[in-house]
Amino acid sequence: MLELVDITKVYRGGKRAVDSMTMRLDNGMLGLLGPNGAGKSSLMRIASTVTRPTSGRVLFHGTDVVAKPDVLRRALGYLPQDFGVYPHLTSREFLSYLAAAKGLSARSARTRIDELLQLVNLTEAVKRPLGKYSGGMMRRVGIAQALLADPQVIIVDEPTAGLDPEERVRFRNLLSDLAADRVVMLSTHIVSDVESVASDIAVVAQGRLLRRGSPEDLLAAVEGWVWEVLADPGDVPALQQRHLVSRMVRTSSGVRVRLLTHVPPYATAQQVTPDLEDAYLAIVGQVVGRTQEFAGLQHPEGR
């Protein structure tokens, strides 16, 4: 349905934010995971037609939307990482304005806005100017606008920033529900945001797609690589130098260190079951200076 073909984005000054990335998205949720500066937001902006790629094509049902962006824009719900609102308008006025900008009929706009305000639990604040909303409430307005036109494609960039834990859970579930019959692309650097809802995960770093697969695929890639050792606090710096440490917990008997390596670091080390965070760190670590240790991991692939 939505295809990103060999996308490259080079900003002024030569910064290559996205480097020859190719991926195909069909109904379902793709979680885009990567460290800060990995190129996630650039890729999201390109996929949502906000930014033009330096090279490459974005196809929606076969139409090149770099040349004809309105084809996708009519079917798109986009929630950027940072956005603002008109502070003196109410949420209903703001959404009405955006519905008109989307080209919704008057009746559709009215019904849809009522439903969405209820969905994001803003009905009681509907008469209040947006300038008086909290960060979380503002985020919910952003979510509502993304769903205004019942989009076929939903692209959300770091959507849970500013939401409290309950709202995060609800929003993730909402996305999961929507993904049943839509394309949903979710970008985050918080592993827990995707592990609970995304059936398909793409890990990116330094503008490149490192790996794509189901959570089970990613976990399988680091099976047997995760170890826990109880170390003397004085030995921790040496361990950090030698291995990729994913977690450390200071206990009364020493520091319990969870690390990733393909050979036992100590005789006393215990192999443990990897989680998605371990897999993510291992995949990203392949790029950031531990190539030798993680050379065994599979190569990136696009679908």
Partner: protein
């Protein structure tokens, strides 16, 4: 002291690395060129009747420095107007507020940075002056002292005063935004005109002693200054080339130097006096000063009880069980597309007029009512129409800027039909212009003043186009405010070539200002600029 200097220099670099700075420097070069026209050019910036000085270092330095003092004090004010607000919008202010940096030190660094920015423009002007002296070829020897001393003695104190006023305005809540920009225009006009008077306090802009010196040189060369004509500073059209005389500069008296120093001291005091009330980026104090309605819910405890927590369905999942649907109310209503042009226009009107207080509307009503009562009808077009079309200046200046200013661009970038929104925004501006000027229009209608009504209509098309184009290009309110006010002021002062609204009438009673063709052409160019800017920004991403 070193810390202050470092802060000021860092701030200076941050400002000069923005693309707008290059435009400003380009404008400074243009001003230097304008101030030293060729013999056959049809304009001058400084003259004594039919005479001007030969282009040696002293005269070129003086004329360019005076042009800089007069015009950079207007344009420069709008350039350095964001010293504090930039720190507020970037969040740097809150970081600085948590350091031991005192209010006094902060304001001092901001003042120094603004003086550096304006001083750098003077520097470019000075270099331009050298180039122009050599290009004109009337004197080939460059005397750096003669050339630079007018910049130091006349232009620099004025720039310091301008920088201080900009900082002071930023620190006074009700002058922080558009009202301050408008007020500065009138203060500037008062200083630029009144400051040339021999009776101006502290010697005004410092030109009077220069005029004396020019007169003395003329007398020494056998020219009677009283017969030659009056001294004039400002862009003036001349029908024939001016005669020249030699002027080798002036020796400033100690009293003159003292007044320049006092002016700088006053500037320093003006810049630092806000240290007494500066809120130091405290959101609570700052927002109270600005606009109580803008108080965030983050800081208001009652919100927690006003808004119910989002209902969460608690489900105990069995291991291996399918995920239960905890969010069953996804909207499923079918969405249909339709004609949304009117609603989009209504939306743009709402956006444009957001936060406008009732007293503003009361002003429109008053002007409309008074327009129906004033006699003769020419008084309506000469006085009330200009008043009606200065009243919305701060609202017009929002055109083309609000999406960027409020960060809504991030959302709208992925919305279809951007040109439709631009058209709707222009329509909202047109409606506003028509409503504000409806009183004089009705009067012209009842008085069967067809030509006047045509000019009113063309003016109503021109103003929002002008505002939208400048707003889209600059993404700030200030450019339109700085450009529209001189145009309006020129109209009010009877300069017919600037009259875009049909306020000035010829002896035959017909509008004597810009021709309809010129107004239509300007409107089309402005609208094309607005659409082209939108398209270019979308392509640039």
């Amino acid at each position: 002291m070193r810390m202050l200097f470092r802060l000021a220099v860092a701030d200076f670099w941050d400002r000069v690395r923005r693309p707008a700075y290059a435009v400003i420097l380009f404008a400074a070069v243009g001003l230097g060129y304008l101030a030293t026209p060729a013999k056959e050019a049809g304009w001058v910036v400084m003259q004594v009747g039919d005479y001007r000085g030969a282009y040696n270092s002293a005269y070129v330095g003086m004329v360019v420095a005076l042009a800089g003092a007069v015009w950079l004090s207007l344009g420069g004010f709008y350039v350095v107007r964001n010293a504090i607000s930039r720190d507020e919008s970037t969040g740097v202010g809150r970081l600085l507020a948590a350091t031991p940096l005192s209010n006094l030190a902060y304001l001092t660094s901001k003042f120094l940075s603004s003086v550096l920015v304006l001083g750098s423009m003077l520097g470019v002007l000075a270099v331009t002056a050298v180039v122009m002296q050599l290009a004109r070829g009337e004197a080939t020897t460059v005397d750096p002292v003669d050339l630079l001393s007018p910049f130091v003695l006349i232009a620099l104190p004025i720039m310091a005063f301008t920088a201080a006023a900009a900082l002071l305005f930023e620190a006074i809540p009700f002058l922080r935004a558009g009202l301050g920009n408008v007020l500065w225009f009138f203060i500037w006009a008062f200083i630029a005109i009144g400051g040339q008077s021999p009776n101006a306090p502290l010697g005004g802009i410092g030109v009077h002693q220069v005029v004396h010196s020019l007169g003395d040189s003329m007398k020494a060369q056998g020219i009677d200054p009283s017969e030659a004509g009056e001294f004039s500073l400002g862009l003036t059209l001349v029908s024939k080339p001016l005669k020249t005389f030699e002027w080798t500069g002036f020796d400033p008296s100690s009293a003159y130097l003292l007044t320049r120093c006092v002016l700088i001291l006053i500037a320093v005091a003006l810049a630092l006096v806000p240290a007494f009330w500066f809120p130091r980026f405290d959101p609570a104090r700052g927002r109270e000063l600005q606009d109580p309605s803008a108080q965030s819910a983050d800081n208001r405890t009652e919100d927690k009880s006003t808004f119910p927590a989002m209902p969460v369905v608690a489900i105990q999942e069995e291991p291996g069980a399918a995920r239960s649907d905890t969010f069953g109310n996804v909207p499923r209503a079918q969405v249909k597309l339709g004609n949304s042009a009117v609603r989009l226009l209504v939306g743009e009107v709402r956006v444009l007029l957001q936060g406008i207080p009732l007293w503003w509307w009361a002003g429109v009503l008053t002007l409309t009512a008074v327009s129906q009562m004033v006699t003769p009808a020419t008084g309506v077009t000469r006085i009330l129409l200009p008043l009606a079309w200065i009243w919305p200046v701060l609202i017009w200046s929002r055109l083309g800027t609000q999406r960027h200013e409020h960060g809504v661009e991030a959302i709208l970038g992925a919305y279809p039909a951007a040109h439709r929104r631009v058209l709707a925004e222009w329509g909202a501006g047109l409606l506003l212009t028509a409503v504000a000027g409806i009183g004089p229009a009705l009067r012209m209608l009842t008085g069967s003043d067809g030509p006047g009504l045509l000019h009113w209509f063309l003016g109503a098309l021109f103003i929002p186009s002008f505002a939208l184009a400048l707003g889209m290009l600059s993404r700030t309110h200030r450019l339109f405010q700085a450009a529209y006010l001189p145009l309006w002021y020129g109209t009010v002062n009877g300069i017919t070539p600037l009259d875009f609204m049909g306020a000035l009438r010829g002896p035959d009673g017909l509008p004597a200002g810009m021709s309809p063709a010129l107004l239509i052409g300007a409107t089309v160019v402005m609208l094309a600029t607005a659409f082209a800017t939108t398209a270019a920004r979308r392509v640039a991403g």
